[in-house]
């Protein structure tokens, strides 16, 4: 699904990623953990195609294609989805309308017929139930006046509607109370499938209690320092990150 080789990237001349190597197979769920400022968000933003990052070395191959050559909407059409850490508000733009435009742009790209309003509404209502999102959110402005938890649920709802092949969850658990965390995790688990890969970027082990990862990576100082199974996450929770750094330096 996704292959990152020797990825170096900087922001405003400052090197953030210093040689990332990462391979994510189809249907796998990976967790990327790491301390603040380790480059976790930078990595997910670069995969989704955000401006302002300079890739100085390396490559990202997605479904056999050069991902870095595509603009963000092309990546979305190809099935990349980023659930934002801080979803922006877009006042006046209807939540459902935005999604419908996104879904139909993707369908047009796949040479499928556009969905009409009725069919689309049916899908949307069904998916909204998945994350226990009240129907009233569908007709509100995108994230307009949503609480922190509602914004995160809205991200997972959008993901459910857009049915990506590769879902990046950027600190989706931050700022969620236990109930909201459970709802979000349920939504993600529901979307787990043989064809879909998920990358979760997180600080805490907590999310992984709800969504069991196949692989856990530790990202620190711009590099993947250690890779393991879900027991690694528990070890990190207990011991912190420093021992991984020391181990890597040794």
């Amino acid at each position: 699904m996704l292959k990152i080789e020797n990825l170096h990237a900087s922001v405003g001349g400052k090197a953030i990623l210093k040689g990332i190597n990462l391979e994510i197979g189809t249907g796998e769920v990976h967790a990327i953990m790491g301390p603040n400022g380790s480059g976790k968000s930078t990595l997910s933003n670069i995969i989704a195609g955000r401006d302002g990052y300079e890739v100085t070395q390396g490559s990202i191959t997605y479904k056999g294609k050069d991902l870095l050559a595509m603009n963000p909407e092309e990546r979305a059409w190809e099935g990349v989805f980023l659930a934002f850490q801080y979803p922006v508000e877009i006042p006046g733009v209807n939540n459902t309308y935005l999604l419908k435009a996104g879904v139909n742009a993707k369908r047009t790209h796949q040479e499928l017929e556009e969905l009409d309003a009725m069919d689309f509404l049916k899908i949307v209502k069904e998916k909204a139930k998945l994350v226990e999102l009240d129907q009233s959110f569908l007709s509100r402005g995108v994230n307009e006046g949503f609480s922190g938890g509602e914004k995160k649920r809205n991200e997972i709802f959008q993901m459910a509607v857009l049915e990506p092949s590769l879902a990046l969850l950027d600190e989706t658990d931050s700022g969620l109370d236990i109930d909201a965390l459970r709802i979000v995790a349920n939504g993600v688990n529901h979307l787990r499938s043989e064809e879909r890969s998920v990358v979760m970027v997180t600080h805490y082990q907590r999310l992984l209690d709800y969504i069991q990862p196949d692989v856990v990576h530790v990202l620190a100082d711009g590099k993947i320092l250690k890779t393991g199974d879900k027991s690694l996450a528990l070890e990190l929770e207990e011991r912190g990150y420093d021992w991984v750094r020391e181990e890597a330096a040794a």
């Binding site: 989704a48 195609g49 955000r50 401006d51 302002g52 990052y53 300079e54 890739v55 100085t56 070395q57 390396g58 490559s59 870095l68 050559a69 603009n71 963000p72 909407e73 990546r75 979305a76 059409w77 989805f81 980023l82 934002f84 979803p87 922006v88 877009i90 006042p91 006046g92 733009v93 209807n94 309308y97 935005l98 999604l99 435009a101 996104g102 879904v103 742009a105 993707k106 790209h109 402005g141 995108v142 959008q158 857009l162």
Partner: protein, 484 residues
């Protein structure tokens, strides 16, 4: 390997193609440039006007000569040479005036068709009557017969002067007097045509009325005058549209619109203004200096102004309501877009005089490119206006880093029972919002349109249905551009 990607900034989306920029090649009878009393006498004689109207014009002209051009607006333009403008231009074929649509010059019909305004009745949107004004003269009015059956008068103002002189004399200049302001005085002296609407007592006008203004000839000014009278308990919805050819010279458009609403009458006045805005370097374009005012003379009368302003190099206009009647209502809904080098200073005045009068102001300004936009509004509550209420909302949206938005709200309250609310926001289409949309599969250009339309929605909802669609499209075309 480094990422090679062309970064596109939001402001690049706002370079546009002006679709209405063509010129109609037609023979005209045009007065040489210049303005003096003889020119005014000539216009008046051409139109076979009664003595009182000529005198009214001359009085306005003499007043104008004592006035100085106002410069308080937040706009910049070189001085206008009023002697370099021609004040009268008429297509030759129209000199005697067509008796019916069949006699209208086919070239003119073609012009309006190109603009999407077919004047042949059977082809036009059912339920909309159109008066088409080409340079200085009205060339066609549709559905006159059907309207007449309902008792509605909808005709060029020059025709109204001839056929209904008492009505015109009774109301002309009672809302915007001849010497009201510099441009209104100039208009009063030289106005050539425009629409006249009269809705008799108790009549609900059976269709939308629409006037389509087109400036064609070079170096001419357009000075139309519109007068709408809604008698007791009547209702009318009126729409005006405006375009002009793409020319390197600036052209002056100084219109006056007067609305009179008697007891329980309602007037809904919508404008889609798309005069040529000039090019990205600020060459050419229309100077749109317009005085629009409604007199809510009767109790419980209501006037709504809705405007979508996307064109003109310079816009200076403040559609206003004088809320004289008790319980009368004034509304102003505005979307204005300034891009490239366009400048607009626009807003409204709500003058509360009657008791329990109510006004609503919703202004949405969008600035892109090097556009500069100012909202200027006055809400005045007179001593007599017991229990008056005003709500003002004034939002600005910026696209890019080189444009500007300014707000000048003035409030004068002389009665302590008044309720005033004012909300204002300024926002910028952020890279974050665009990226968010893109990550959902929506192209940057579509995202800009989506955000702008969302921003304008409250105002577009006030437009008659057909025109809301047109306004949406116009915004998209205006913002369309340099993608890829």
């Amino acid at each position: 390997m480094s990422e090679v990607k062309v970064e596109r900034k939001p402001e690049e989306f706002t370079h546009n193609e002006y679709e209405a920029g063509f010129v109609t090649d037609i023979e005209t009878d045009t007065l040489p440039p210049g303005l003096d009393e003889n020119v005014i006498r000539h216009i008046s004689a051409k139109k076979d006007e009664p003595e009182w109207l000529l005198n009214w014009r001359l009085e306005a002209f003499r007043h104008w000569q004592t006035m100085t051009e106002p410069h308080w607006a937040h706009v910049n333009y070189p001085p206008i040479d009023y002697q370099a403008i021609s004040y009268y231009s008429v297509p030759k074929s129209q000199e005697d005036g067509p008796k019916s649509l069949d006699e209208v010059d086919p070239k003119l019909l073609e012009t309006y068709e190109k603009l999407g305004i077919p004047l042949r009745e059977q082809e036009f949107l059912a339920g909309v009557a159109v008066d088409a004004v080409f340079d200085s003269v009205s060339v066609a009015t549709t559905f006159k017969g059907k309207l007449k059956d309902a008792g509605v008068i909808f005709c060029p103002i020059s025709e109204a002067v001839r056929d209904y002189p008492e009505l015109v004399q009774q109301y002309l200049g009672t809302v915007v007097p001849g010497g009201d302001n510099y441009y209104a005085a100039l208009n009063s002296a030289v106005f050539t045509d425009g629409s006249f609407v009269f809705i008799p007592k108790g009549v609900r006008c059976p269709m939308e009325l629409s006037t389509y203004f087109r400036i064609n000839a070079l170096n001419t000014g357009q000075f139309e005058r519109t007068l709408i009278i809604a008698e007791e308990g009547s209702y009318v919805s009126y729409l005006e549209g405006c375009t002009a050819p793409q020319r390197d010279e600036n052209q002056l458009h100084a219109a006056v619109v007067e609305l009179v609403a008697l007891d329980d009458a309602q007037i809904k006045y919508s404008t889609v203004q798309n005069w040529y805005p000039g090019d990205e370097n600020g060459v050419g374009g229309i100077y749109n200096f317009v005085t629009k005012r409604a007199d809510c003379r009767g109790a419980r009368s209501k006037v709504s102004w809705t405007q979508v302003e996307t064109g003109s190099a310079i816009t200076w206009k403040y559609p206003s309501c004088v809320l004289r009647g008790d319980d009368s209502v004034g509304e102003f809904y505005s979307v204005a877009l300034t891009k490239m080098r366009q400048e607009a200073d626009t807003g409204t005045k709500m003058i509360h005089i009657g008791k329990n009068t109510k006004s609503t102001i919703v202004s949405k300004g969008i600035s892109a490119g090097r556009g500069q936009q100012s909202y200027r509004g006055l809400v005045r509550i007179a001593k007599s206006a017991e229990g008056a209420r005003n709500f003002t909302q004034c939002d600005s949206l910026l696209i890019g880093d080189n444009c500007g938005a300014h707000t000048f709200p003035y409030v004068e309250v002389k009665n302590s029972t008044a309720t005033m609310e004012h909300e204002a926001t300024t926002s910028k289409i952020g890279e974050d919002q665009l990226f968010y949309c893109q990550s959902r599969g929506i192209s940057e250009e579509d995202a800009v349109n989506m955000i702008v339309n969302g921003f304008c929605k409250d105002v577009f909802n006030e437009l008659p249905m057909e025109f809301a669609v047109e306004a949406n499209r116009l915004m998209e075309v205006s913002l369309e551009g340099a993608v890829g």
